[in-house]
């Protein structure tokens, strides 16, 4: 009996590596610490009432961002471990198997559990405010989306202490990711964790598409919307049409592994190439799902701090539409070298290069917005300005990779790795840090410290270049991605040392951002006006942080940059008005989303270990939650006029 328990524990928990034991201990300590603090300060009820059951888009946005920052920390640690291993030739810091796991979790976490939720967090905070709405179209579904992402992320992260991590790369290519060559639970964690979170993403796409199409303030026609809202509208369309393909791909591979089907196996007629096609049919649009929103953020920030209206508004919109359409017909460029015919490669080569045109148009529009502007170098503006040249380098090397014959040289080398980090860091990461600093006062009512913000920017941006500029040359010198070590004497060592220094610098930059968040929470300047930056769009028209109902009166819009226009012409500044208040209808908090997502976690964990005694009750729990929700009719309340008056008086907005 004891022997069998022992052998189960040895297989269930990941053993043998001191770093894993360290992680086990720190997870246990942090968990105990959180429970102890919540219990000691009697905060459990507060946590449940104010956060876990909240359907307020602003709180959901904050939870998204906190979770994404935590995941960014974990993904960053993975990156530093890889850099430590590769600093010098023949290192034994990580073994081959462990290295495979680390690059797999790094990629998956950074894309699925950092980039997307961070962007979802920012759009949750800004979009309803920018369009003058009181919430999103489906507040319940919004909370469910968040909890599905959260539980998916937790399930995925559990893999490194329980059962073992996936090791087939973030793209999880068949046949290596199949049951035959990759037994054990690691790959199941990838499939189930990403699936659960992906269902939440699809729901978010539908939610924001309807919110933006149907809930804009009176007078705000589509072509009067803020550019960030436009970018989210277009991104939501991509989410709705790309994610179902990924849902299917993940489900098919899960069925392969759990029930012995033959979609992607080599035996019995399966087609490993089919996986590559399905994965990238989602995977390439996914790149634009995490890029278009930051294009929107940069458009807002550059216009605000150049003190000018955005140059070429309509062209900005149409170029995003063009990018979104092209994003669906370029997926094959991820595997030019897998033996397609020349005409097929030629088609995808051209379609890929075409994307450079609308993207280039956008770059020039940002430059023309800056032209003759009164530029104010705030922290968000620094991130936005650094984005333009750094991202352009990533874009240009993308066109180099798009040339199919040349790609046979670049493919799977560090040149490629440098390219996509140039786009994803100089694009997405710069963008989310830009948006974080820009909207922070709107989220919490105080500013992040500018001096520390600028230091963190310079350290991170310079280190990024120290890390990734040499990487292009390392790729051209022949070093391929995903190799866990290399022999001495190839001339790669100096570049690898430099890159590791850059990686550490990026870690320092991120740590400084985290420190700034903590420091500013205590010492940060209060934002009493609701408009600390001199903003141009409606989110700055309300208090910081915005009241539960966002706007006491729904604003009326007549032009683009609605708030800038309101400030110029005080007569139409409608937030301070003598109009009488009316009771405001708001959705009730509900515990169903977090409970349902917990059942999803249980079902997912059961499937990972093929414990159907656990998976089936989890699935039944999900269905029961859906039925329970369907029978809830009393799901809203009214905020009384007196309460609105009290709230508005508290922020000095009562006329």
């Amino acid at each position: 009996m004891i022997e069998s328990i022992k052998s189960f524990m040895g297989w269930f928990f990941v053993t043998g590596d001191p770093m894993i034991y360290g992680a086990d201990a720190s997870i246990a300590l942090v968990s105990i610490g959180i429970v102890a603090v919540l219990t000691y300060f009697k905060k459990w009820k507060w946590l449940w009432d104010e956060w876990l059951t909240s359907v307020d888009h602003k709180k959901i946005g904050i939870m998204y961002i906190l979770a994404a920052l935590l995941m960014l920390f974990r993904g960053g640690i993975d990156a530093l471990m890889m850099r430590a291993q590769l600093t010098l030739p023949n290192m034994h810091f990580l073994d081959a198997e462990h290295y495979n796991q680390v690059f797999t979790t790094h990629g998956t976490i950074m894309i699925i559990f950092v980039a997307m939720p961070f962007i979802f967090g920012l759009m949750n905070i800004a979009v309803p405010l920018q369009i003058g709405a009181r919430d999103v179209a489906y507040p319940f579904l919004n909370a469910l989306s968040f909890w599905l992402f959260f539980m998916g992320a937790m399930l995925f992260n559990l893999s490194f202490v329980i059962g073992g991590s996936p090791d087939a790369g973030w793209s999880s290519y068949a046949p290596y990711a199949g049951a035959e060559m990759n037994p054990g639970v690691g790959q199941n964690y990838y499939l189930l964790g990403v699936q659960i979170s992906g269902i939440g993403s699809l729901a978010t796409g539908i939610n924001f598409l309807v919110t933006i199409l149907k809930m804009r303030a009176p007078g705000m026609t589509l072509f009067k919307m803020p550019m960030f809202t436009w970018s989210i509208l277009i991104t939501s369309v991509i989410v709705v049409f790309a994610f179902p393909a990924f849902t299917v791909a993940l489900a098919l591979m899960t069925i392969d592994r759990l029930f012995g089907a033959h979609f992607f196996t080599i035996a019995a007629g399966g087609s490993p190439m089919l996986w590559a096609n399905l994965f990238w049919f989602w995977g390439h649009p996914e790149v634009y799902i995490v890029l278009l929103p930051v294009f929107g953020i940069f458009s807002e920030v550059i216009a605000t701090f150049a003190h000018k209206t955005l140059f070429g508004y309509a062209v900005m919109v149409w170029s995003m539409v063009a990018i979104s359409l092209l994003s669906f017909i370029t997926w094959l460029h991820h595997f030019f070298t897998m033996g397609n015919t020349a005409p097929v490669n030629a088609f995808f080569s051209i379609s890929t290069m075409l994307i450079a045109i609308p993207t280039g148009v956008k770059i020039f529009n940002w430059l023309f917005t800056l032209n003759k502007g009164r530029i104010q170098f705030t922290t968000p503006m620094l991130w936005a300005l650094a984005f333009i040249p750094n991202f352009t380098i990533g874009g240009v090397t993308g066109v180099m990779l798009a040339m199919a014959p040349a790609d046979y040289q670049y493919h799977n080398s560090y040149f490629l790795v440098a390219h996509f980090h140039s786009t994803l860091i100089a694009g997405t990461v710069f963008g989310i840090f830009c948006g974080l600093h820009y909207w922070w006062p709107k989220m919490f009512g105080y500013m992040l410290d500018e001096t520390k913000g600028k230091w963190s920017f310079w350290i991170f941006m310079i280190s990024f270049n120290i890390c990734f500029m040499p990487m292009y040359f390392l790729g051209l010198m022949g070093m391929t991605r995903r190799m866990y070590t290399y022999p001495a004497g190839l001339g790669w060592t100096p570049i690898n040392v430099v890159m590791t220094i850059g990686a550490v610098g990026m870690g320092v930059g991120f740590a400084l951002i985290a420190y700034n968040i903590v420091w500013s929470a205590i010492h940060g300047n209060k934002d009493k006006t609701g408009d600390p930056w001199g903003g141009r769009t409606l989110e700055w028209a309300t208090a910081s942080p915005a009241a539960e109902y966002n706007f006491a009166h729904i604003p009326e819009v007549s032009t683009r940059d609605a708030f800038a226009a309101m400030k110029e012409d005080k007569g139409v500044f409608t937030t301070k008005t003598a109009k009488p208040y009316e009771p405001i209808h708001m959705p009730n908090n509900t515990g169903i989303p977090v409970i349902m997502a917990t059942f999803m976690f249980i079902a997912g964990f059961g499937c990972v270990f093929e414990w159907y005694w656990m998976a089936v009750p989890g699935l039944i729990g999900i269905v029961i939650c859906m039925i329970a929700r369907s029978f809830v009719y009393d799901d809203h309340h009214y905020i009384s006029v007196n309460e609105i008056k009290r709230t508005e008086a508290g922020t000095g907005r009562l006329s």
């Binding site: 009181r134 796409g205 309807v210 809930m215 393909a245 019995a268 087609s271 049919f281």
Partner: protein
């Protein structure tokens, strides 16, 4: 009731059908159409997968060996008729006739149950009697998962309609129950459209080619 949540210019909704009579109902129906668009991509991916793998029988039974026109026609007719009765339920909804609405929805789920029964029987015949389970070949994997996904959707639709029937019986036809009955109708017709594609792409091409 729910006007103040939403900020769209107030339309005159009194002349619209009950399910569109509140802005909330309108919002949810729009969102459901977008959800169906996503479902279209989901089934499109499964169809693409099936068509790629159709010829990958790995020496096992082929479509021609397995499919029989009789049961397939029975499933098709039952599901098409259920779509018709579901349409009748929507007409009764527009007439505010609670009895008619409930009656036709019950007929719809009964036909749905017959369809699911026939399909389960078909799967059982293939997997057990004909030695052609999902793990036999890539073709069969594609077949079972495409049709199984459709079958699961129909089964979930049955559970959903039962839930709506209970709410209709208790609350009668209100803007909320009307919206739910209307939306489940959209869902049911969508599954019928998917079946027409299955009938063509899986069974007809399987029997002919």
């Amino acid at each position: 009731m729910t006007h103040s949540l939403l900020s769209l210019n107030e339309k005159d909704r009194s002349k619209m059908p009950l399910e569109y009579s509140t802005e909330e109902g309108d919002l949810r129906i729009v969102g459901f159409w977008i959800f169906l668009a996503a479902e279209l991509v989901l089934f499109g991916t499964l169809f693409g997968t099936y068509l790629v793998l159709q010829s990958h029988t790995a020496g096992g039974p082929t479509a021609k060996d397995l499919f029989e026109i009789g049961p397939v026609m029975a499933e098709t007719i039952v599901l098409l008729v259920s779509s018709f009765t579901c349409g009748l339920s929507t007409i009764e909804l527009r007439r505010h006739n609670k009895k008619g609405l409930i009656g036709w929805l019950i007929v719809t789920i009964l036909l749905g149950l017959v369809f699911v029964g026939l399909e389960v029987n078909e799967f059982y015949t293939y997997a057990v009697h004909e030695g052609a389970p999902l793990s036999r070949s890539a073709f069969l994997s594609g077949f079972f998962v495409l049709l199984g996904t459709h079958g699961c959707h129909v089964s979930l639709g049955i559970v959903w309609i039962i839930g709506i029937l209970l709410q209709l019986a208790r609350r009668g036809i209100t803007p909320v129950t009307a919206r739910k009955a209307f939306m489940v109708g959209l869902y049911w017709h969508f599954l019928d459209v998917v079946w027409i594609f299955i009938f063509t792409a899986v069974y007809l091409t399987g029997l002919v080619i």
